[in-house]
Structures are given as structure tokens and as C-alpha cells.
């Protein structure tokens, strides 16, 4: 049954069979939202849990994310015309200005995609204005900021202030993460949350969405 093998393909990071299996389910008339909800997302949830427990490691998570992305790319056209399709919340993510580190940010991006979010990755060295512009453009309700350096984490404050001062974006949920940041720092700069690890970031974003 493709439905069983889809979840296994996600967990095992097996990209070879995923396209054929997803297409077969679609051709059998299985609802695209159902494939996402009952196969892909539970598969990635297991990957996230195993990563959190150090039972899976970064290469395996990357492979699973690649399988997930392949499946989502196939489902996307079907989801957009599907009256049963649930709105996928858009999350903007980026490393703040002055900081080129992207390992942690990329891991959060991958796991957010795996958790079913639409993710706009702005990359590294991102100025505050670009976070605002892209949030408006994509109507994103959640922004994730990353920094690895003590010097650049202070640029998070500027981003948060810019959102709070913007009439249309002041309620945007802002999550921060990266080695030097802390819960205390997050509260101090007026962010909505802090995540010490990638799995914790996903939990926080899900919490923001009431999931």
C-alpha cells in the first residue's frame, strides 16, 4: 500500500519511491489534504521526535525533509484547488543582519516544512526592513529570527521594534533562536518566544498557531 510506504519513506529518507507513491494515491482519488495530514505530517513528526531524542541525526533529518519537499511539490497544485485543503500558515525565517550563520536556521526551516508550514527563507545577513517587506508580501503571521553571535543578536531588537512600530505588522508573532539568545533576552526585546533547539522552535510555532 503506498499510504504505508509514504510514511516509511519520510522516516527512512527514501526519495526513490515517493513520487510514484504519492501520484498513485492521487490517481486513486485520495484527497491531497488527507495524504498530507495522515501520511506526510505524521511521518515528519516521528522524525522530529527521534531527532529530539538523538535517535536520528542531521543527515537523516535532511534526507527526510528532501522526501517531504518532493511530496509537497507534487501535492501543491492539488491542495490549491482543494476545497477541503487547510490553510498552511506562512512563516518567514532568516538570520539577522551581520550574521552569516545558517546551520540552525536551516534546520528550523527544514523542520517547519516538515511540520506542514509554508516557509519563506530569507537567508542570512537579512536587514530589518526585508523582514517587514516579506511579511507584508506573504501575509505571514509568524517570523523566526536566528543569530549565532552575541554581537548580532542585538540586531534582533531592531527587527522586533520595526514590527511593533508597524501598524499592519505589530501583532506578528516573533520567535528568536540561536546559541547566545535566552528566554530573558527574548522578553527583554519584546519577542513572543525563544527556542533553544530546532524541535522547540517547531513546538513554539505550532503553539502560536493554536496547534
Amino acid at each position: 500500500m503506498p499510504s504505508d510506504s509514504i510514511q516509511q519513506a519520510i522516516i527512512m529518507g527514501n526519495v526513490a519511491s515517493i513520487s510514484a507513491d504519492v501520484n498513485q494515491l492521487l490517481s486513486e482519488g485520495v484527497n491531497s489534504q488527507k495524504i498530507l495530514d495522515e501520511q506526510l505530517l505524521p511521518g515528519m513528526a516521528i522524525v522530529g521526535e527521534r531527532f529530539k531524542r538523538n535517535e536520528m541525526f542531521l543527515p537523516q533529518v535532511l534526507m527526510s525533509a528532501q522526501v517531504m519537499q518532493t511530496a509537497i511539490d507534487i501535492l501543491k497544485p492539488h491542495l490549491s484547488g482543494n476545497p477541503e485543503a487547510r490553510h498552511r500558515e506562512t512563516v518567514i525565517i532568516g538570520t539577522v543582519k551581520g550574521d552569516m550563520h545558517d546551520i540552525g536556521k536551516n534546520l528550523v526551516r527544514i523542520m517547519l516544512i516538515g511540520a506542514g508550514f509554508e516557509v519563506i527563507d530569507l537567508g542570512v545577513n537579512v536587514p530589518a526592513q526585508r523582514f517587514l517587506d516579506e511579511s507584508l508580501k506573504h501575509q505571514a503571521a509568524i517570523v523566526c529570527l536566528s543569530a549565532l553571535l552575541s554581537s548580532t543578536m542585538n540586531n534582533m531588537r531592531e527587527v522586533v521594534q520595526a514590527f511593533r512600530n508597524h501598524a499592519d505588522l505589530k501583532d506578528t508573532k516573533i520567535l528568536i533562536g540561536g546559541a547566545p539568545v535566552s528566554r530573558e533576552f527574548s522578553q527583554n526585546i519584546g519577542a513572543d518566544g525563544y527556542a533553544p533547539t530546532a524541535p522547540a522552535a517547531i513546538e513554539q510555532v505550532q503553539h502560536f498557531c493554536g496547534q
Binding site: 529518507g13 538523538n54 541525526f57 542531521l58 543527515p59 537523516q60 535532511l62 534526507m63 528532501q66 543582519k97 551581520g98 550574521d99 552569516m100 550563520h101 545558517d102 546551520i103 540552525g104 536551516n106 542570512v124 545577513n125 553571535l149 552575541s150 554581537s151 546559541a179 547566545p180 533547539t197
Partner: protein, 351 residues
């Protein structure tokens, strides 16, 4: 007692009148050096050597980092997004440094496993080791020659995600890749030894704050055996081997000991790498260096720095095997007063 003697005593598990203290690599960024040296900061043609010597003398540091240097990078173009120059290093990767930011990989050495198989490392035989001999011949610092191995350098040249995926998708190719990188770095180690290095530091980040990037079993089967051969060859030169990695390495410390590593550096408290705890478990086989959080030096108060340093010294000094330092290097955003406080405590806390 010279800095060199003090570090060597620590490695022999002899407790000295004060703990040895120092940093790896360049140790102190230029902003920090200027702040500490003030009007003693040299601007002449020999500024690098003089300023690095002076800051160590003022702080009372025992260690200097140095390395065999290659030819200057080659400018190859302008980055489309940032408008900054792109440059190719001697390994063949292209980088750029955007304004107010750190260096970024632009073009990796290979875009496919097949390309990586045909990639050849540079001939380093004519590289320059005079930096090492100069420190050795003109100062009493413990000269710690820095080089890389196969993992950290491996993903710097390929890009992190590509590297990680290929550990699964192209396992044999990656083993050959580690071999090539390590063989080249071993040549650099031999040149460092010949130039008078007191020890070799292998800089090779393997971990996040929550554990190793890859499965420890993968490291055991595919990487550590190659690393071990490198360490054995270095130790044939009579040099101790330091190993730097950020992150939580507790799952692989016995493996690093098995590889022959003598000193583990970084020991970041944010990654649960507490030196007094690690010393109790592994102190017979492994010495430890670091443990002062760089962020404490950046954001803490002087009293906090003094107390943390004092407590660490008192908990870790017994029977040697401990070198005080930061868990990375003294970054430009650290407070010079905090740095001075850390070193002053090390000098005050006598046996």
C-alpha cells in the same frame, strides 16, 4: 616558569603554582587587541607579531596559536547580491565577505559526488611555516600550531547541508574525501613540527550544543579511524595533540581518547561540557582546555567573570590536566575589562 613549561606540566598532570591560561588560533581579535593595548598598539610592518606578543605579555597568557600559511587568496569576481569581491582559497572553494558580516561560501569545491571524487587537494609542500618558528625562537609561549582534519574543513569546502546529505548518499566518496583532507593536513602537521611547534591543534567542529551533527556510530565507522591514523603520525613526532570542537561531545569523548587526543579544547558550558565534571570521568586519559563562556565575556559583569573564573580554577586545577581559556576565541564583541578580569584571576589564584 615559562608559559611553555607551565602548559607542558599541565599535560603531565603536574599542578603548577598557577593554572596555565591561553587561547587557541589567533586568540584575540584585532578590536580586542587595540582596546587592551591602547597606545601600545603597533601600526608598523611587523604589527601582527608585535601586537600579539604584547597582548599576551600584558594579560599573562601562556599560549600562542600559529599555523603554516598558504599563498594569498585569489580574487575571482564580484558577488551579485552583495557587491563584494569573491575570492578562491587554495583548496578551490570560492567565498565572499559581505559588509559587516563573516565569510560566506559562494561556490563549493564540488557540486556532485562525482566531482568530489575527481577533486584533488592542493600541494602544500611549499607553504610557509616561518610564523611558527618565529614564535618558537623568540618567545617562551607554548606554540600551538593549528590545522584542520576532515570534518569541519570538509563541510566548509562543500557547504554544510550538501556535506551532511552526502554522508548518507555518497558514503564511500566521503571517506575518500576525509582521507584526502587529512593527508594534506598531516603534511601541514609535519611542517609545523619541523618548524618547532610545541603541540598540534586539530580544529574540527563535530557537534551542536545538543550533540554530534551525525550519528556517533557513523563517526566511529567512517571518520575516527582516519583521524586516529593522523593523530598517530603526529605523535610519532613527539608532539601532543589538542582537539577543538564546539558543542556537546560527551557521547564521543572515549572515541577521541582512543584516537590518541591529549587535550580537548572548547568545553563550552552551554553545551554541558563542564571541565570539573569531565575531569572526574576522563582526567586520567584526557586534559581539558577552555570552559569560560565567550558570551559571559561579552555580556557579563566583571564580578561575574571573576567569580566564574575563580570557581572553575578551584574545581579544575587539582593534579594538572587543565588549561584555562575561553570556550572559543576572544571575539571582537567581548568586553576588554572582562577579558582582563579573567586573566587577572588566573594570576591571583595561586596554589
Amino acid at each position: 616558569m615559562t608559559g611553555r613549561d607551565r602548559v607542558l606540566s599541565a599535560l603531565k598532570r603536574i599542578e603548577t603554582s598557577r593554572v596555565p591560561i591561553g587561547e587557541i588560533g589567533g586568540g584575540y581579535t584585532d578590536v580586542i587587541i587595540q582596546a587592551v593595548l591602547g597606545d601600545k598598539y603597533d601600526l608598523g610592518p611587523d604589527a601582527y607579531f608585535l601586537n600579539h606578543q604584547r597582548i599576551r605579555e600584558i594579560l599573562g597568557a601562556d599560549i600562542v596559536g600559529a599555523r603554516v600559511t598558504g599563498p594569498p587568496v585569489e580574487m575571482v569576481g564580484i558577488h551579485e547580491d552583495w557587491g563584494t569581491e569573491t575570492f578562491r582559497d587554495y583548496w578551490g572553494a570560492t567565498h565572499t565577505q559581505p559588509p559587516d558580516a563573516t565569510v560566506q561560501l559562494v561556490e563549493p569545491i564540488a557540486n556532485s559526488p562525482e566531482e568530489l571524487e575527481s577533486w584533488r587537494p592542493p600541494d602544500v609542500g611549499d607553504f610557509d611555516s616561518s610564523q611558527i618558528s618565529r614564535w618558537k625562537n623568540n618567545t617562551d609561549f607554548f606554540v600551538l600550531a593549528t590545522l584542520n582534519a576532515g570534518f569541519d574543513l570538509g563541510y566548509e569546502l562543500l557547504g554544510f547541508e550538501r556535506f551532511m546529505m552526502w554522508t548518507i548518499q555518497a558514503r564511500d566518496t566521503m571517506k575518500q574525501y576525509y582521507e584526502k583532507l587529512i593527508e594534506t593536513n598531516l603534511t601541514l602537521a609535519m611542517m609545523s613540527a619541523e618548524a618547532g611547534a610545541d603541540a598540534i591543534l586539530i580544529a574540527d567542529d563535530l557537534a551542536f550544543n545538543t550533540g554530534t551533527f551525525v550519528d556517533p556510530n557513523y563517526l566511529r565507522s567512517d571518520y575516527f579511524p582516519i583521524l586516529k591514523r593522523m593523530v598517530i603520525e603526529i605523535k610519532k613526532q613527539g608532539l601532543p595533540v589538542f582537539f577543538h570542537s564546539d558543542g556537546d561531545l560527551r557521547n564521543v569523548i572515549p572515541d577521541l581518547i582512543d584516537c590518541g587526543i591529549d587535550v580537548l579544547q572548547s568545553c563550552d558550558p552551554n553545551a554541558n561540557m563542564d571541565i570539573p565534571t569531565l575531569k572526574r570521568e576522563y582526567g586520567q586519559d584526557l586534559a581539558f582546555m577552555g570552559n569560560i563562556d565567550v558570551d559571559l565575556l561579552a555580556n557579563g559583569h566583571v564580578v561575574e567573570v571573576e567569580n566564574t573564573t575563580r570557581n572553575l580554577i578551584n574545581d579544575a586545577r587539582s593534579e594538572g590536566g587543565f588549561i584555562l581559556g575561553t570556550s572559543n576565541v576572544v571575539a571582537s564583541y567581548c568586553q576588554p575589562e572582562n577579558l582582563k578580569a579573567m586573566y587577572a584571576v588566573a594570576h591571583k589564584e595561586l596554589k
